[in-house]
Amino acid sequence: MPRVLARIAGLAMRYPWRVGLTILTSLLAAVASLMLPRLIGRSIDQAHHLLAAGSANSDAAQAALLWTAGLVIAATLARGFLTMWAGYLGEYLSQKVALDLRRAYFQQLQRLSFGFHDKIHSGDLITRGMLDLEGTRAFIQGAMVPALSLTLLIGFAAWMMISADPVMAAIGLGFTPIAGVALARMGFRLRVTWLRVQQLMSILTLTMEENLQGIRVVRAFAGRAFELGKFDAASQEVLEHQYRRITLRFRGVAWMQASYYASLGALLWYGGTKVLDGRMTVGGLTSFVIYMSLLQAPIRQVAMIFNAMARATSSGGRLFEVLDLKPEIADRPGATALVAPQGVLRFEHVGFRYDAGGKQVLSDISFEVRPGRTLGVVGPPGSGKSTIANLIPRFYDVSEGRITIDGIDIRDVTLASLREYVGLVQQEAFLFDASVGHNVAYADPWAEDERIVGAAKTAQIHEHIASLPADYETRVGERGVALSGGQRQRMSIARGVVPGPGIMIFDDSTAAIDAVTERRVRENLSHATATKATVIIAHRLSSLMHADEIIVLDDGRIVERGDHASLVAAGGTYAELFELQSRTTSGELEAAE
C-alpha cells in the first residue's frame, strides 16, 4: 500500500472510537450475514429429511420451519441495521476527516507565502481543495471501510466454510488467489492511468477556461479552428486514457468473475458428487452455494475499492504535497508583537533574490524614511520597485542585509503585528465578490461606518459609490457591477486607508487614475498620513516628485537619489525621464503642479 494511503488511514485513526465502532459493526454484520447460509441449509434439510423419512409429522416439521424462518428474519434484520450503522459510521468518519483536511488546507494556503503562490496556478490550488480532497475522503468511505468489512466477511466466511468442510472450502475459495493476482495487477496499472487521466483532465480544463476568458482574442484572431484543434488534442488524449482505464478496470473485473464462477462450478461438481454418493446433505451443499453467493457481491465492490485507492493515491499525494510545505515566512520562535513608538523605516544594505542562486533582484539597497516623510521609488519594469514594497510587510524575506522599524529587525516581530503596522496598496487591485462596503472594510471589518466613508472620501471614490444602485451595499466583482481600472484602484486605496497603518506603501497604485483625481487623492492622503512614513512607488513622476527623497532603481541597484530638484539638475536617468514625460504628457504635469 502506498504511503499516501497509509497516511489517509492515519487521519481516520485520529478517531479511534469511531474506527473501532465501525470495525465492530462491520464484524457483527458479517456474522449476521453468515448465519444465513447455515439457517437456509438447515431449513432445506429439515424439509428434505422429513420428506425422505416419510414420517409426515407435518406439525413438528412446520414448527421447525417456522423457527428457522424466524431466525432468518432476525438475522437479516440484524444484518440490515448493522450494515446501516457500519455504512453510516464509515461515511461519518470520512466526512470528519474531510472536515479536518478542509480546515488544514485552507489555513495552509493562507500561511504559505507569496513565493509559493507565485509559482502555482490558482485553478490548480482550487482543484486540489475540491476534487483531490474529495478523492482523499472517498478513500475512507469507498476503500478503507469496505475493504475492512470485506476482509472480515471473507475471513469469517472462510472460517465457517473450513469448519464445515475443508475440501469444499478449498474449492470454493480457490478463486481468491487468482482474483487477487488479477486485482494486484489491475490496481497498480489503474493507479498509473488514473494519475495520468487527472493530469490530462486539468490540461483540458485549463484549455477551456483560457479560451473562455480570452474569447475576445480568439475571435479577433479568427482562432476558432485553432482553439478547437487545441481542445480536440487535449480531449482526445483524455479520452484515450479513459479508454485505457476502462479496459483495465473491466478486464480485472471479468477475470475475477470468471474465476469465481469456475470455483462455484467446481464446488457444485464436487459437492454434487458428494450428494450423489450420499456423503453430503442437500442442505449442506446449499449452504455452501449461499456462502458463495454472499462472496459474489464483494467482487464488484473490490473493483470499486481499487478504483478509489488509485484515485486517492494521486489525489492524496497532490493534497499532502501542499499541506507538507513549510511556509517560508513565519514567526520566529519568541517573536514579539511590534511596538514602534516612532515608525522609522530603514533598509540596511538589502539584497534579494527570489530563489537561492537565482537572479539578484535587489542589491545593496539602503534608505531611511522617518515619520511624516515620503520616499519615492522610480525605475524601469523589472528594476525591483515592487520587490521593495513586498519586502516591508515580509511577503518575501530579504536575502542580505536587514529591514528595521524603529531599529527592530522585522524578522524578529510577529507577522500579524508587522502587517497590521504596514499598509500596502498594490498595483492590481483585487476586489472580492462582495459588497462595496465589505471590500472597503476588508482590512478592518469592524470599522465604524464613518471610517469607511471617510476612507472612501480620502480615496475620491465615495461619490461614485453613492451613485451606485445600493451605494455601499452594491455588489462588485465578478457577479456585481463592473468598475473601471481607476475606480478599482481608488477602492483599493480606500481599503488600505481604513485600518490606519503606521507605515503606508503605495505600489504603483494610482497608475490607472487620471492625473486630476490622483492629485486630489494624494492631497487627501497627505493629510491622513502626515505623521507617517510613506513610500510611493510610481512610474508617473508627478505621483512622487514631491517626495522628500527619490531613489531611482535600475537592475536592482540605486543609481540616483535625491529630491526632485537635485535629480533634475543632475541630468541623469531621472532628468531624462522627467523630460520625456513632460513632452508626451505635458498637461499632466501642469495639472499636477
Binding site: 420451519l65 446501516m84 490558482s122 473562455l212 484572431f221 473491466f250 511577503f395 497590521e420 465589505h438 490607472a512
Partner: protein, 620 residues
C-alpha cells in the same frame, strides 16, 4: 488600529462574507424532448450501443439461468441422475463463462461509449461558445460556463455509464419475477408481495433523501466557493491580515457542509435495513411455504434452493434501478442546462455560400450605422465614415461614446441594427467570418496571454510562423530586449495570465502577436494606463511599426498616438462630432482643441469631464 479586537464577546458582526456559490438545482423532471435530443448523440455510435445492449441482455439472461441451474444440479444429484448432473454442470460452466464475457463486453463498451458521447457533448458546447455572439459571452460568467462544461457534463456521464446496466437490471427484475412465477405460481406470488411494500417505502423515503442530498450539495458548493475566493484573493488576504476572520467564516461553512454530508449519508443508509428486512421476510416465506410444499411433495428441493437464490438477489436490481432513477433526475437537470446553452442562437454566421473576403484595397466604411447592445437604446446613431487604404484613423471620445462598438462592428462581433459596415468594399455580412478575421487584426486594451511560452503566445494561430518570424516581430515592436532578459528567452513559460511580466510588456507581446498575423487592417484599442514610462516609449515606437503600410483604426488615449494619426474622429454620445487632421481640428476650435489644450494623461477622462458626464462631473 482595530480597537474592535479588544472585546470579542460584545463586538458586532463583522462586515465580512466569503464566497458566492451558484444556485443551480440538482434534480430535474423527465422531459422526453430533452431525452430524445440527448440520445441523438448516441446516433453515430449506434452500432456499439446495440452491441452493448445485446451483451447486457446476454449477461442478464445467463445470470438469470444460474440459480435455476444450481437448483437443477442439486435435484439431479439427489435423484442420482448422474448423466443429467454432468450435463447440467457443463451448462453451468457455459452460463458462467457467457456471463463473464458478456458482462465484460457490455460494461466495457457502454463505459467507453459514455465517455465518447460525453466528449462529443462537451465539444459541441465548446464549439458553440466559439460561435455564439459576444453579448452572450459578455454577460455570462466564465465560472458558470465552466460548470456547464464540467459539472453538468459529469452528471450526464454518470447517467450514461449506468444506462446499459439499467437495461440489464430491468431484464433481471422481470426475469426473476417470471422465473419465480414459472417455478411455482403460488409461492412466486407470495414472495413477490414484498415488492410493492418496498416500492411504497421507497416512495415515502425519496423526497426526504432528495432534500438531504440537495442540502449536502448546496453546503459543499458554499464551502468550495469560499475556498476558491480565498485562493484567488490570497495576496489581499495576507496583506490585510484577514487570515483569522476568513478562517472563521470558512470553518463555519465547512462545519455546515460536514453536517449536511452526514445527514445525506444517514438518509442514504436508512434504506439498507428496510431492504434487508424485506429480503428476510421473502426468504422466510420461501422457507415456511416452500418447505411445506417440499414436504407435501408439490415442489422439488431443487426448486426451493433456486427460490432462495433468486430471492436473495431479488432486490439488487430494484436498488440499482431506483439509484439510476435519481441519477437520471440529476442528469435531466444537467441536460436541460446544457441544451439551454446549445440553444443560444448563433446570430452571427456565414451566409450560405459566402465568399472569402479579398480586400485588395483594405478600406473600412460605415454607412449610416445605428447600433445598440439593447436595440431600444442605441449606442451609435447614424454613423458614417470611411477609412482609406493605409490610413491611420484615431477614434477619440469619452467612455460610452461608441468607440468600442465601432471596432467591434468592424470585426462583426455584433450585427448592426441599421446601415452597413463595409470592409474592402464588401458588406461584412456577405463574406466569411474566417476571412474577415484574417484580414483584420486586433489588439485589445487588456492583453490576454495564454498559458504557454512567449513564442507560442506571439505565434498564436499563425501556425506557419517560424521562430525567426516570431523573433523579427518581437524585435520590430521592441519586445525582443525584455524577452531576452527573461530566464529562458522566448521559451519562458508565462504564468497565469502572464503574471510574471509587466502589463506594458504584455501589451508588447500582444503587439508582436498582431504583427506576426500580418493583417491588412489593424484595429487597436490602446491601453489607458498602467504602462510605465520606460515601456511607454517602446510602445510608441512599436505603434509606428504596426501602423506602417496598414489601414488602422485606433481607439487612442495618448496624445502622442493621436498626433501620429492621419485623421482624428471625435465621437460623443454615439455621433461623430468632428473629424480631420490634428492641425485642422486645432484650428477649428471645437471640442478637440479644448481637450488638447487642457490635455491630460488619459484623454478619455478629460473628455468625460468636459462633456459633463453626471458621474464624473459630480466630483469636480
Amino acid at each position: 488600529m482595530s480597537e474592535a479586537v479588544a472585546e470579542p464577546q460584545v463586538r458586532k458582526a463583522p462586515r465580512a462574507s466569503l464566497g458566492s456559490p451558484e444556485g443551480d438545482d440538482v434534480f430535474g423532471v423527465f422531459d422526453p424532448k430533452v431525452a430524445r435530443r440527448f440520445f441523438a448523440y448516441l446516433g453515430p455510435h449506434r452500432k456499439s450501443f446495440l452491441i452493448a445492449q445485446v451483451a447486457v441482455l446476454f449477461s442478464a439472461a445467463s445470470q438469470l439461468s444460474l440459480p435455476l441451474l444450481i437448483g437443477q444440479v442439486v435435484s439431479a444429484a439427489l435423484r442420482h441422475q448422474t448423466e443429467r448432473f454432468h450435463g447440467l454442470l457443463v451448462a453451468f460452466a457455459v452460463a458462467g463463462a457467457t456471463f463473464s464475457a458478456a458482462f465484460f463486453v457490455g460494461e466495457w463498451l457502454s463505459q467507453r461509449l459514455a465517455n465518447r458521447v460525453i466528449f462529443d457533448v462537451r465539444r459541441a458546447m465548446f464549439a458553440h461558445f466559439q460561435d455564439v455572439s459576444l453579448s452572450f459571452m459578455d454577460k455570462t460568467h466564465v465560472g458558470r460556463l465552466m460548470s456547464r462544461l464540467q459539472g453538468d457534463v459529469g452528471s450526464l456521464q454518470e447517467f450514461l455509464e449506468n444506462t446499459t446496466g439499467s437495461v440489464g437490471d430491468f431484464v433481471m427484475l422481470i426475469g426473476i419475477a417470471a422465473m419465480l412465477l414459472a417455478m411455482d405460481l403460488q409461492l412466486g406470488l407470495l414472495t413477490l408481495m414484498v415488492l410493492p411494500a418496498l416500492i411504497a417505502i421507497r416512495a415515502v423515503w425519496l423526497p426526504f433523501s432528495k432534500r438531504a442530498f440537495r442540502l449536502a450539495r448546496d453546503a459543499s458548493s458554499n464551502a468550495n466557493s469560499a475556498l476558491a475566493e480565498n485562493i484567488n484573493g490570497v495576496r489581499t488576504v495576507q496583506e490585510t491580515r484577514r487570515e483569522h476572520l476568513n478562517y472563521e467564516l470558512y470553518a463555519e461553512k465547512a462545519q455546515d457542509n460536514f453536517k449536511a454530508q452526514a445527514g445525506a449519508a444517514w438518509m442514504g443508509q436508512i434504506m439498507v435495513p428496510t431492504v434487508d428486512a424485506l429480503t428476510g421476510v421473502a426468504m422466510a416465506l420461501v422457507i415456511v411455504v416452500g418447505g411445506d410444499a417440499v414436504l407435501s411433495g408439490r415442489i422439488d428441493v431443487g426448486v426451493m434452493v433456486a427460490f432462495v437464490l433468486y430471492v436473495q438477489r431479488f432486490f439488487d436490481p430494484v436498488r440499482m434501478l431506483s439509484m439510476q432513477y435519481t441519477i437520471m433526475q440529476r442528469a435531466m437537470a444537467a441536460a436541460h442546462r446544457i441544451f439551454e446553452v446549445l440553444d443560444v442562437p448563433v446570430t452571427i454566421t456565414d451566409k450560405p455560400g459566402a465568399p472569402a473576403l479579398t480586400a485588395e484595397a483594405p478600406t473600412v466604411e460605415f454607412r449610416n450605422v445605428t447600433f445598440g447592445y439593447d436595440p431600444a437604446r442605441p449606442i451609435l446613431h447614424d454613423v458614417s465614415f470611411k477609412v482609406r487604404p493605409r490610413e491611420v484613423v484615431a477614434l477619440v471620445g469619452p467612455t460610452g461614446s461608441g468607440k468600442t462598438s465601432i471596432i467591434a462592428l468592424t470585426h462583426r462581433f455584433y450585427e448592426v441594427d441599421a446601415g452597413q459596415v463595409l470592409v474592402g468594399g464588401e458588406d461584412v455580412r456577405d463574406v466569411t467570418l474566417d476571412s474577415l478575421g484574417r484580414t483584420i487584426g486586433m489588439v485589445l486594451q487588456e492583453p490576454f496571454l495564454f498559458t504557454g511560452t512567449i513564442e507560442e503566445n506571439i505565434r498564436y494561430n499563425t501556425v506557419g510562423a517560424t521562430r525567426e518570424a516570431v523573433v523579427a516581430a518581437a524585435k520590430a515592436v521592441s519586445a525582443h530586449d525584455f524577452i531576452m532578459r527573461l530566464p529562458e528567452g522566448y521559451d519562458t513559460k508565462l504564468g497565469q495570465r502572464g503574471r510574471n511580466i509587466s502589463v506594458g510588456q504584455r501589451q508588447l507581446v500582444s503587439f508582436a502577436r498582431a504583427l506576426v498575423a500580418d493583417p491588412q487592417i489593424l484595429i487597436l484599442d490602446e491601453a489607458t494606463a498602467n504602462i510605465d514610462s520606460f515601456t511607454e516609449q517602446a510602445i510608441q515606437k512599436a505603434l509606428k511599426v504596426l501602423f506602417e503600410g496598414r489601414t488602422c483604426m485606433v481607439i487612442a488615449h495618448r496624445l502622442g498616438t493621436i498626433r501620429d494619426a492621419d485623421r482624428i474622429i471625435v465621437l460623443n454620445q454615439g455621433r461623430i462630432l468632428e473629424q480631420g487632421g490634428h492641425d485642422e481640428l486645432m484650428a477649428s476650435g471645437g471640442l478637440y482643441r479644448h481637450l488638447y489644450t487642457s490635455a491630460h494623461a488619459s484623454f478619455d477622462d478629460q473628455v468625460v469631464a468636459a462633456t459633463g458626464d453626471a458621474e464624473f462631473a459630480s466630483r469636480s
